[in-house]
């Protein structure tokens, strides 16, 4: 491999994933998600009756509260809240529970790079745990562009700092389908290859961005499979009796 990573990973290798759901007693749904040393807790309350002013009462509304590991929330956290809120709104079915608000609380446990993608994945797992109706899942990944033009996935904090540019990308999960292959195609590529959310930092060429998108997309399959396996496990735990 051309790129050497401190922890000996290959460029497209993710850090070990771990996810456990229903870990908190009070919230209606909760999950902890970790990628390597980055760990985030997510809790979901709701749906609760009523929406805030300025929100569309004909749809289900979401609010996101970001709790950093230490200190007060600033502009960074506000931006993350907004990105998470808009991402969640786009993957949930908003017409099922109109005029309700669902709160998602994100608690950062440890930040070792790829924090926002980690939080999006955690929120997604918690929403599933709470049984919020969703169109599909969202899988988030951080792609980094190294000096020599190579793309590295799921960087840790040290790598994030060294990179020239990075992109946080969120895709829909790879789904099972009984439909014949190739039926969900829009303009020559499967719908699930579309980007839900993209946030970039640093300057890169347009081609480099597409390289990031491509590499990120390739990683969604393994993330999706991890999600599915995780749900199967907990399903097995709870529904054996029936």
């Amino acid at each position: 491999m051309e790129v050497d990573r401190e922890d000996g990973r290959t460029p497209n290798q993710l850090r070990p994933l771990a996810c456990s759901r229903n870990i908190l007693h009070r919230p209606h749904g909760s999950a902890s998600w970790s990628q390597g040393d980055t760990k985030v807790l997510a809790a979901v309350y709701g749906p609760k009756a009523g929406t805030k002013k300025n929100e569309n009462a004909e749809k289900a509304c979401f609010e996101v509260i970001w709790k950093p590991k230490t200190g007060q929330i600033g502009k960074v956290e506000k931006e993350y809240e907004m990105i998470l809120k808009r991402t969640i709104q786009s993957i949930c079915v908003l017409t099922v529970n109109p005029n309700t608000t669902t709160s998602v609380i994100i608690q950062v446990v440890h930040d070792d790079g790829s924090l926002l993608p980690c939080a999006i994945n955690a929120a997604c797992a918690a929403l599933v745990d709470a049984g919020i109706p969703m169109k599909h899942l969202a899988v988030a990944i951080c792609c980094c562009l190294a000096d020599n033009g190579y793309v590295v996935l799921d960087p840790n904090k040290l790598e994030e700092k060294k990179m020239t540019a990075l992109a946080y990308l969120v895709f829909p999960n790879t789904t099972l389908s009984v439909l014949p292959e190739g039926s969900s195609v829009a303009e020559g590529e499967p719908v699930e290859h579309g980007i839900i959310t993209s946030v970039t930092h640093g300057v890169m060429s347009v081609d480099d961005y597409f390289l990031c998108v491509e590499n990120g997309r390739a990683a969604t399959a393994s993330l999706s499979a991890f999600f599915r396996k995780n749900f199967q496990q907990s399903q097995r735990d709870s529904s054996k009796a029936g």
Binding site: G131, K135, H136, S177, L179, P180, F231
Partner: protein, 241 residues
């Protein structure tokens, strides 16, 4: 169960699905009428899951995704346990663990008239049936069955209520009788009411029995039938010592 993710399986019935999975293709089943239960939505010809859980089918034509949650989404004809939170001249407001409070009309009792409106204190536990769940409106519940008879609905006096998940209460309500109830029923005498909203009420002559039953039920969520029986036996042994 742990099938590898393949792109185009033929049928997903009995498997775990995650939101977004397309479970049915209506273009192949044009001359059938099907009924969709919870956790499914239609997008043109594709029926896809919107919750994670097990995809179920029951003859002749019912499909649903089975899952367990702490929050309850009301559906008509569900029987639930509600708590009175307020009373107005026409309705009682009842908390049924849903997104909105439910309305219980003061006349929705067997033989209910303007003259014999029941009086419920705030906090009263009621066994009720969900009647209407129109979007944009509060759900409506009733203390009668479809024919207007009381049929066991109404306030639950004494006893002990605890909250579990919707999955557990569905399991406890399933037929044939759930092993844990069967095992407990052989040794102890008690009264129970299960709401599909995850509330369980237990009543017995002595508080001891109530506590044993409640614990046994709460422990049973993740256990198989045999495990449940063993768990109940162990519990009873320990108590009788």
């Amino acid at each position: 169960m742990s099938t590898e993710v393949s792109t185009s399986p033929t049928s997903l019935i009995g498997q775990t699905v995650v939101p977004g999975d397309v479970v049915l293709d209506l273009s192949n089943m044009t001359n059938q009428t099907i009924k969709l239960g919870s956790g499914l939505r239609q997008d043109n010809d594709a029926i896809s899951a919107m919750r994670a859980g097990k995809f179920r089918f029951s003859k002749p034509n019912k499909y649903w995704v089975e899952s367990s949650h702490k929050r309850y989404i009301p559906r008509p004809e569900d029987t639930v346990l509600g708590i009175v939170v307020d009373s107005k001249s026409d309705n009682f407001w009842v908390d049924i663990k849903g997104p909105q409070l439910a309305l219980l009309p003061v006349l929705a009792f067997e033989g209910g008239t303007r003259r014999n409106i029941p009086k419920f204190e705030v906090g009263t536990l009621l066994y009720v049936r969900v009647v209407k769940t129109n979007t944009g409106m509060n759900p409506e519940v009733s203390c009668t069955d479809a024919s207007g008879k009381a049929a066991g609905f109404g306030p639950l006096k004494d006893g002990f209520m605890f909250e579990t998940s919707t999955g557990l209460s569905r399991m406890l309500l399933s037929s044939p009788t759930c092993p844990v109830l069967e095992a407990l029923g052989k040794k102890l005498s008690f009264e129970t009411a299960f709401g599909l909203n995850g509330r369980v009420w237990v009543h017995a002559a002595s508080p001891r029995v109530v506590i044993i039953v409640a614990n046994a039920l709460m422990n049973s969520e993740t256990l198989s039938g045999t495990q449940q029986r063993i768990m109940v036996e162990k519990l009873l042994e320990k108590i009788s010592e």
